[in-house]
Symmetry: C2
Subunit: 707 residues, 2 copies
């Protein structure tokens, strides 16, 4: 992987200057100096403090300007007001990387923000990169280097890296992980991110050969597109799990479409994570549960799990939990059952879950586990171990570890209990076998392994689908629209949008605007009966809300009557709206109706929506989102995760319709949204999907430009 | 509460005989004798073994017949084959309660099942109650009495009882709880339930004054109706939390309606738990997380929570988690903010979450907590404590405990970390303040407290709604149907079902059967145009599946053409079906369509369903279930938890319709299902709900009797 070399000094410094190193144990500068020394960092350490003296057996220098080579990383723990001068000193000493641990910047208000901007300016003037301010630093347990000021003990060496927007969460995670005997590889606290962001550190952390899984605590991302591209590249090699908070802080802004209304609430993040292969955890425990499994287990070849237990109850719990997590119980082969039967007492259950009974010995655990792992229909095993009545759990753990290490399938343990299983916990952790207190969490970890394996097996790229000169034509159409008088933020005129859709290869029905009933009656036969009438107004959000749509008019009399009816009703709309006329439109053949929409997400750009359309979109919420343009996997996801998509293949008396036609229309709308970020919202509702081979028609659509 | 007195000896024995007490430490009879003695049980203990001798300083008697008074509970840990004779001995010694710990019964096959039946017969002949066989026994930490054979240590005394269908889960829970310093009050392992069931022990366990919360591990219930009634009575006093497994083991049986197809997958259990006020946990950890909060906290007056933290990140996590759990952040009063401002540094955040900054002292935690608890808009507080950089977490815990104890609002703690917060954990546990490692779990516990408070505030009973002589009339109608020739399990004839619905006060449209097109054309004007035509056949499950419905026919020519069209199409149905004719039916006015159904659940009897109807019911899955007949709360739940119910109040251009009319129809269907358990399935699809005040009409319906 490629890493920007300017971040190297943060992760492999030759010499570190601790500016503000202090002899006072209540100061952060003391804690950092202590951790650096105690963590056994092998590079050169310079303590800097105008008071000079000695600290941890080393001299304290009055200024960084006095520090001899090498010194490529400075860590600043002095009052905020003194930071700018210290950065100048660092710059003059040719230091290219600085961590500002001190607070007192943007987080305190406008003055602090100004100070932070000053610091960034100074750093840039020396080509110096900054982590922080207002962070607890970083550490690497393998280098080793603990450049945080947290109270000891630091984390154990491990395989999982943690990158965090919150320093307090870092402190909690280090302490919690230590208590769980769960090791970390690297940890980075990002603070205010004046310069270096979560996206910047992804590559340097992923490059660490000791890091097998990256975990992130995110409060947002600095640059959506860059995050997706960086993370997406990394997840092909190493899993990334993110705990993204702020889910319910809705990005409030005016929206005029169903798509816009539904796109809030974090849909953009979900779509971006899906694209980038980033696994989203809902809770911190889930994140680290999954991280252990992903760090230590080979990928399973499928979702069939064998459960090995010494008691019935936990086996049932495990079966439930596996089903709930989208896994299923493997069907064991006859050979497997025969082998199990030879190894177990007659009353044991040889079907999955395999219940060896309470008398199961360590040897039986090991033997049966090997038998299950040898069954080609078994992709993974969950072994369950409540405190065994006759043996110690520790002895069972010791017996199974060689079997697990020689297998190429994942095995996870549900060690149920606490004290009586403690020895087993320690054996398994030391052997890098994931163990969980309850089968539910073990099942969730297995499901994540399966998901990861499926992700690695899929490898498609977003497709450019359109569309010759579609983009050029649309540029011209939009230029024309902008040049003509129009209200900012209003919907594009129907004709304009129809031309754009046509340019992108999306079919629309024949349609013409009538301003009088007579004109409508004249147009109708040219279009061909039956026709639909639709009110046309730049001010009306949803035509059916004002009863502005009439369908299936079969003759001229009906058209005249319908026209007048629509216009009569429109007079009562409050507040009054401008009515441009009524569209006379060809009726489409029977089929299934869906909605396709696109909005520009503030973080991640164009986002496309698919689902059940009509007027109840926002009530039914049968919709799904993906980044635009889409990969094939994403397009499929939109269709399989919605009822609207699933029923395209037919349901009861509903005949199957043109699924490829929907996928095609979806990709075209996605491409349009990606090509024209100035289109704030596009929505086709309904898209009528016709029988197989006949494609789909955008029966009604709207779009507006950014204001 | 009422307890069946025959179970008293299990929970308050005066003297216990351990039959099979053994000097061999590898025997269960040794473990049980040890636990009984070491648990400091104050009653008389008799050890029984033909080998005689001494055990734990006491004599071993050769037979229970030799045991002097008092002896009212026998615990049997001898080989299965010896149990019948031992039970005879117990009966002759006037023992009225026996726990059979030994396995070798029903769980091993038909022979064991026979032996189990023999044991039950013997016990009954002496009016003796049985717990087990194949169980680990029971314990009471307050009596005290440990009548299990599990390896020590047993659980700490506590407030939460645990009743379990799995002995292995008991062992795991005891060990886990001990490791978590989490106390139990009583524990009952039920084993094979030859006699005493989970429902039988609810009352005796709830009667224990030390038990504040009951937790259950259930693999099923023995008698659904009795469980609902017993549990429902208890939950008015003490919460019950159940972990019900076997969720995905679908109760396979033939169903012919949408309702039947959707009613599988554990819907009956959910409806029964809702009725009984039993809280359903998805995981073991969730169950005990909730149990602690329910045991130790007062009920909150609402769902507004204040979050008190010393760092921003965990505050955001907490806000997210509260929202995700249906709670919301309290808006703090001006007075509260003023008081907080006086207590905290200027950079602190005085809005909710209240961020006191990393410098927060134990005194500030205590003071700010008191300020928040004094705010009338705050119903509960979540305090967050990552390892504080300047103080110990233990000092914070000590400072806040008096504040929490003097408050009448719940306070839960998110103690983030492990080693550095261990002292705080111990203080809070000893003070009965619920603490969790992560804000997500603390939020879930607060939500459960709110739900419990809401449950206690609601107190309605299932309503008998109908309906004069509805039941009598329907009995006659069904008797007539049974007396006439009919195919078992077929749908009731349309006319029969219409008469039943009419008896129960459910409106149906005017409708008559025609067997020729001419007859149909003659009926139509009598009913009044426009009319609908519907195929009539005992063999057709869903009429629209075979295009057997035509709507809105406006004249006789249309009716003739329609009749012929339906009959023509019907000829091609495979396999061929018997066509009785075509119904000519009045068209209903415009409104909203919903589905109402009822099925007989194997466990819990009549179950009523409500939701989005039409042909896509099973795809959209916008349905909810409740036991029939319903309480007002349950009827409301059906409407608010489905989109079909929510949109009854109007949505966009959809006008509001007669919500009370739907509730009325729902209760009537529920009553019908409850009155006639022989009705296997009833389904109205659609029920057309008319504008306010005009009620609802069953446009199409079907029902069939149990086969």
């Amino acid at each position: 992987m490629h890493t920007e070399t300017s971040l190297h000094p943060f992760f492999a410094p030759l010499g570190i200057a601790v500016i503000g190193a202090s002899q006072d144990p209540t100061k952060l500068g003391y804690g950092l100096a202590r951790n650096l020394v105690q963590s056994n960092y092998q590079g050169v350490v310079h303590f800097i403090n105008p008071k000079a003296g000695r600290l941890f057996g080393r001299p304290v220098l009055p200024s960084i300007l006095d520090a001899p080579d090498p010194v490529d990383l400075a860590i600043l723990l002095i009052p905020a007001s003194a930071i700018p001068q210290a950065l100048h000193d660092c710059g003059q000493r040719s230091v290219k990387a600085a961590i500002i641990g001190s607070g007192g910047f943007r987080e305190t208000g406008p003055e602090g923000a100004q100070l932070e901007a000053d610091c960034l300016r100074i750093a840039r003037s020396y080509q110096m990169r900054l982590i922080g301010p207002n962070c607890i630093g970083l550490l690497d347990t393998h280098l080793p280097m603990d450049a945080t000021f947290l109270p000891p003990p630091g984390p154990l060496p491990g395989d999982v890296a943690f990158i965090s927007h919150s320093g307090a969460i870092c402190a909690a995670v280090i302490d919690w992980a230590r208590g769980q005997s769960f090791g970390l590889s690297r940890l980075v606290s990002l603070g205010n991110q004046a310069d270096v962001s979560e996206t910047d550190v992804l590559s340097p952390v992923a490059d660490d050969p000791f890091t097998r899984v990256l975990t992130l605590y995110l409060e947002g991302v600095s640059d959506g597109a860059r995050f997706v591209s960086e993370a997406g590249r990394i997840t092909r090699q190493k899993p990334i799990i993110a705990l993204k908070v702020g889910r319910f802080a809705s990005g409030q802004r005016a929206v005029a479409s169903h798509t816009g209304a539904l796109a809030g609430q974090d849909r953009g993040f979900n779509a971006a994570f899906r694209r980038a292969g980033v696994i989203r955890a809902e809770t911190s425990e889930e994140m680290f549960d999954w991280a252990r499994a992903l760090a230590w287990c080979p990928p399973p070849a499928g979702r069939s799990v064998a459960v090995l237990t010494n008691a019935g109850g936990p086996g049932v719990t495990a079966s439930d939990a596996l089903e709930a997590n989208g896994m299923h119980l493997a069907e064991l082969s006859d050979a497997t059952r025969l082998a199990l039967g030879a190894a177990l007492p007659p009353a044991a259950s040889l079907y999955n879950p395999v219940d060896m009974l309470a008398s199961a010995s360590p040897e039986q655990y090991a033997l049966c586990l090997r038998i299950l792992l040898d069954d080609p229909g078994v992709h993974a095993v969950m072994a369950i171990l409540p405190p065994p009545p006759m043996y110690t759990a520790g002895a069972v753990a010791k017996a199974v570890i060689p079997v697990i290490h020689s297998a190429e399938k994942p095995v996870v343990f549900a060690l149920m209990g606490e004290r009586l299983i403690q020895e087993a916990v320690e054996h398994l952790r030391a052997a890098r076998v994931p163990e969980y207190r309850f089968p539910e969490r073990a099942a969730s970890a297995l499901a994540m392994l399966a998901r990861r394996a499926e992700y690695l097996a899929s490898a498609d790229e977003p497709k450019q689908v359109c569309c010759g000169d579609a983009r050029e034509q649309t540029s011209l159409i939009l230029a024309g629209y902008r040049a003509s008088p129009h209200q900012p933020g209003a919907f594009l005129p129907v004709e304009t949008l129809e031309r754009i859709l046509t340019a992108y290869g999306i079919r629309t029905p024949a349609s013409r605007l009538a301003v009088t009933a007579e004109q409508a009656a004249g147009i109708a036969p040219q279009i061909g009966f039956p026709v639909a009438l639709k009110i046309d107004s730049p001010d009306i959000l949803h035509k059916s809300d004002v009863d502005g749509v009439l369908l299936n008019l079969r003759d001229q009399a009906g058209v005249i009557q319908g026209f007048n009816q629509i216009m009569d009703r429109a007079r009562f709309i409050e507040p009054p709206v401008k009515i441009t006329g009524v569209h006379v439109q060809a009726m489409a053949d029977a089929g299934q109706d869906v909605i396709i929409g696109a909005v520009q997400d503030q973080q991640f750009g164009p986002l496309v929506m698919f689902g059940s359309g009509g007027t109840e979109v926002e009530g039914l919420k049968d919709v799904a989102f993906a980044l635009a343009p889409m990969t094939q996997e994403e397009a499929d996801y939109l269709l399989v995760s919605t009822w609207a998509g699933r029923k395209l293949q037919g349901f009861r008396n509903m005949p199957p319709v043109d699924r490829p036609g929907v996928l095609d229309a979806l990709s075209r709308v996605a491409q349009l949204a990606a090509d024209f970020p100035e289109l704030a919202e596009i929505e086709i509702n309904p898209l009528r999907v016709l029988p197989a081979g006949q494609g789909a028609i955008a029966l009604d659509s709207r779009a507006r430009l950014m204001t």
